[in-house]
Amino acid sequence: MPDYLPHTDEDVAAMLEFLGLATLDELFAAVPAALRLNRELALDTGSPEPDVLARARARANRAAELICFAGAGAYDHEVPPVVRQLASRSEFVTAYTPYQPEVAQGGLQAIFEFQTMVSRLFGLPIANASLYDGASALVEAVNLAVGATGRHRVLVSAGVHPNWRAVLATFAAGTGHQLVEVPLTEGRSDWSTADSEEAGAVVVGYPNYLGCLEDLGAARAAADARGALLAVAADPVAAGILKSPGEWGADVAVGEGQPFGAPLGFGGPYLGLFACSSAHVRRLPGRLVGETVDADGTRAYVTTLRAREQDIRREKATSNVCTNQTLIALTAAVQLGWLGTAGLAEVATRCARGAQHCRAGLLALDGVEPLTGTTPTVREFALGLRVPAAVVQARLAEEGFLAGVALDQLVGEDGDGSVGAEEAPNALLVSVTERRTRTEIDRFVAAFDKALR
């Protein structure tokens, strides 16, 4: 009966005696007898660690072994041993939210550095200490915009990741926002389709989820025309070579931070990035670390503007967020520290370089068409195939490749404003990271050719 509990039988006996109790069961005297479970849980009895590890190993997935050309917001980037090792230091891993700053300077300073990095990346002066993921960051961005403008109508480009739009829609049921989908034309948002009523937010991807570069100038204009804030869902890696959302005039920028050191991990834990202009700092969702001094005047860090938060503001809080993704944010700070100025630019460039090579190779094949016309893409791109994308995926898996993301998985068989019903089943989104070598890409293209036949 091995477990992690330190209590010897004598301990239990002595403690019960101190409490004037005869049995452990009496500890639960307050629980009405009728409610007690009074049977064992229908779970196995405890297994020793080696058995549990063996069981977990047996749940390994074939996808883990494939050379990855899938993206759509989750990318197979290089994470070096040094980043893994630093980010897994147990002081960081087994700490709580820094309620006692005197013994939490380590985590606080790391997050302060993270905020600085995100702020610089997105070109906006304020960044918070993380949100759950890109989708939740977008939800908070829209909430901020609606709160700031008092307008519930929200224009959402169909180029925003379909899952994120789905999450937006789910939560809009509570907040009552009215979401208006703005469809894509040749992979770019067509703002002319939306009516010109006032709105609280205009939301657009950069690049959008199909990999296309949106015209953020047009998006800014669409927002201005409607009195809305502009919220940009930016790919943080592509941001390494693209004009920043801030420079384009965004009020809020959000992103999925997974590419900065988090493993693919079947979708989580990931990292919601959130930055905004100074005007909105008091509406900021989530935690914010600020610099201050200690009693001796030494530089110190602490979570600040706490009056926005739920534990103080309760039903009037800017958001309900409490536990968040701090460790992943810290990991991102380490990973961005490792990449540095040149490294981030190099990663972004390499992704683009590989993607362009791959795209050219695939488009030269019989039975492959571009799905977004000639609109420029950066690190991923959408294709229309002669055969269903799922079939190509299955065939390429046999050859050792994860071929990309089948778009009907994201938009459904009926498609949406980004991909039409006719295109959806045969549409594939392909992504290339800096880990993909030229040889791998060339082999992939050759295997793809075979798979189409």
Binding site: L27, N61, L86, I328, L402
Partner: protein, 504 residues
Amino acid sequence: MSAAGGRAASAPLVGREAEPTIFELSRPGRRSYQLPTSGFEELGPDELVPPEHQRSEPVALAEVSERDLVGHFTRLSHRQYSVDLGAYPLGSCTMKYNPKVCDAVAALSGLSDVHPAAPAELAQGWLATLTELERALCELAGMAAATLQPAAGAAGELTGLLLMRAYDEARGERRQRVIIPDSAHGTNPASVTLGGYEVTTVQSDERGCVDVGALRQVLDDDVAGMMLTNPNTLGLFEEDIVEIADAVHEVGGLMYYDGANLNAILGVVRPGDMGFDIVHLNLHKTFATPHGGGGPGAGPVAVAGHLADFLPGPRAVRLESAGPDDPPRYGWATPARSIGRVHGWHGNALVLARALAYIEVHGRDGLLRVAERAVLNANWLRRRLAGTLAVPFDRPCMHEVVFSAAPVHKRTGASAHDVAKGLIDEGFHPPTVAFPLIVDDALMVEPTETESYETLVALAEAIERVVARAERHELADAPTTTPVRRVDEARAARMLIPTFDARR
């Protein structure tokens, strides 16, 4: 000149200086990164990105050597308290020891290197993991089905409220209010607002529990439901839970269980059996996901059968097997009247895998022991410290106990906050202060089951010493042994410096 990355003066082992930021350690031209050989000719952004989209300058990040990167973050880690260093008796937070085997599970390449959009046939192991965890959580909660998508407790709460809403709408109703007790965690009212409801607060009675009379007064058919944690945030079991649930159900409301305190009742009593309809579970508390300095966590939501159709989707499900001897197969399915997605993918998957490992190591027997020992530890401390601090609700507690330093405060001028700072010098992380809000000078202690009898004694003695120091007016300076002394929180808000760039 930038700061010296090889100077350890900020490591408490050899010094007490401030650690420079990574930006101060930076020197243009230094680098750590190394990328794989790609075999590509070196095209630059000019060839890859249209001019109007190009960044004029690269993002200015820190430029450090790998050596300085390691020195910096290693030193930072030495400036951070953690469970692995010592007890962390933060009430409501369940800072137990997290078995390292769970880290090992989460690090398995076969799990961690899987793309979330991989076709189900290539991710069978993950789908099996999710369905098994869902089954275990439902059994523990006494519920029928669950979503694993919510990334934390608060996300689970909001999901639960949207389920209420969907249920209401399916009934053709449009209820407006949700009831929560005044002792509730701040996420509850915040979530209620985001769920589109109004908060109705119900007072606690003198026993620290929901005042059933007061509750009845606010119940009517505009009430969509009630959120409750049981044991509640005072660590007390709501003995009238059946009456409460019945009353809420009578007006057509749903009962929502905030599972942050599930640790106390594992295998003893189940939310479903208490009459709850919706339950969120804080896996990062009960199921030993290390808290990571503030996450990641996971907040699955389990529901009774009548709500299963509304759950977020897609959910991993076990498919009908072709034959009886065929290995189990898994796929995705979205419930018929699903409220939709609440996470970009499938939730914090690696956290979910950890939780399953934790459940498997402990098993039904071990989980029951967890609850018993957690409650035993808290009660021992309650009794032991009853003479030192006030115990506002002096009856047996569950897994945590709320003390009040108010009498000490009045007598000596030292608040709960001061006592907390004093305890740091004794080598303990302080308990939660200032929560729950309904207790003055609250000190909320949750020892958890993984701390030993000896540690409880040492903690109790430390608190006694600190209170004695308070009597001698010696706490104003505390802490004195830490790398920084008491931090000026007010100044941080007044003179906001949220980034290094804001310092200039």
